[in-house]
């Protein structure tokens, strides 16, 4: 019983690991995925600060960040 559960869990884990995102017909490249994770770590703090700053600015001025594509 234990073995079956373990096998099932293993299978599900394996499926999760190999399942591709819907319609990802190009190979994203493992290295290209991993580096995005690292870059996210590097710039994540900066992004958080920027968002926080925009919120303060918006609260003070009553205007939201001026990205023409934010509509």
């Amino acid at each position: 019983m234990k073995i079956t559960t373990l096998t099932m869990t293993g299978l599900i884990m394996a499926m999760l690991l190999v399942s591709a995102p819907a319609q990802a017909y190009i190979d994203p490249g493992t290295g290209s995925f991993m580096i995005q994770g690292l870059i996210a770590g590097v710039i994540g703090a900066g992004v958080a600060i920027k968002l926080f700053w925009h919120k303060i600015k918006a609260a003070l001025t009553g205007k939201s960040a001026a990205d023409p594509d934010d509509d």
């Binding site: 399942s19 490249g29 493992t30 995925f33 994540g44 992004v47």
Partner: protein, 457 residues
Amino acid sequence: MTDILSASFRDPSGFLFHRDGVLLRQINQVYAEDYARLCDSGLAERLVDKGLLIPHAEGDDEPLRPDIAHRVIRPELVDFISYPYEWSFSQLQDAALATLRIQKIALKSGMTLKDASAYNIQFHRGRPVLIDTLSFTTFEEGMPWVAYRQFCQHFLAPLALMAYRDVRLGSLLRTHIDGVPLDLAATLLPTRTKLKPGLAMHLHAHAASQKKHQDRRKSAKAETRIPKTTLLGIIDSLAGAVRGLRWNPVGTEWGAYYSDTNYSDESLSRKRDLVADLLGRIDAKSVWDLGANNGFFSRVASDRGLSTVAMDIDPVAVEHNWREVKQKGETAILPILMDLTNPSSDLGWDHAERTSLQGRGPTDAVLALALIHHLAISNNVPLSLLSRFFARAGRWLIIEFVPKGDSQVDRLLATREDVFPEYHREGFEAAFQQDFEVVQRQDIEGSQRTLYLMKRR
């Protein structure tokens, strides 16, 4: 008559085909959900309104493969399909920035670009637009960008090489159909580019990460989770890296061509009037200006509303031309880089993914001004072969014959033996008689040159 476009095979979401001369896109059932989201979320409309996505019409066209079809749409046509290896530095840069802007807007609508191929961008009415309506997929929270590698290979790497090493390295896109491999770019770039944060992360560290993980057999998907706000930050960071690349277009043979010819301002404008007059006499809708330099004469055609492709071998000239297009907001002219002695050939899978220059023709009218001596003398092409080339390219030909004795021809002959006994006006006319009839012949005042209007036989 139907045929599937030979470049349209990679993505199972759908494909392009022609039926009785009409371009259609079949959307397959596997893409039905994404297509519904693209339309229902308003994303498609928003992108079309911003001029970033090619518009399409939904009709009742029959699918080509009904067994897998969801529906068929009719995309708006692009006048001339050009390729990244034919673009100047700023054209590739503008295409890159358009791709990133699209990706940002898509992310905000809960979708993401599943590819970032430079070939999906075309210059349409003077602006870069995405022509692949099926490039979007539903964004899964936490997912890194699937097309990040492709973006860096198709855009960031060639742009960095052009900016930091040599602008001619843009031609690497011709040999590497899926973009410049990042390890190659990292090897060729100067070491100081490692100090530029954008290039250090997205190119150098990226290349190192690819190398490190090249033998991994499992997906990194489950291991790499990125909050959406941070992913948007990565897109911003890529845009910053792209925007930070600069190339100053100076220093080639042709850069100052018009200030260094034997044409005075007056005879230049007379020649322009003459070309305008000849163009007015023919029923052309499209023009290829071969050897267009900065597009001075191309604009005689494009200002009349003729769809004009201005081709030149010089990256500086093409860059200046594109900057002028942007500055004036011109919509009928497309500058591209083209070496006529070795024009773009059929490339890619089965020689059919990217079409040769002649394969994208013929055009209605060809302009060949101050060009023939470069092909006939510098490249030793016999006049009869030139005639055949031009006859394949277009129905009408406006061509300037530049004889020996003209300072530009004498300059070409100054350092070499004259092995061109046939190169004179009579020889030129005799050679071109085989493919063309001369409709009008006009001496250009103040020079020894002659302008011809010819019609293909």
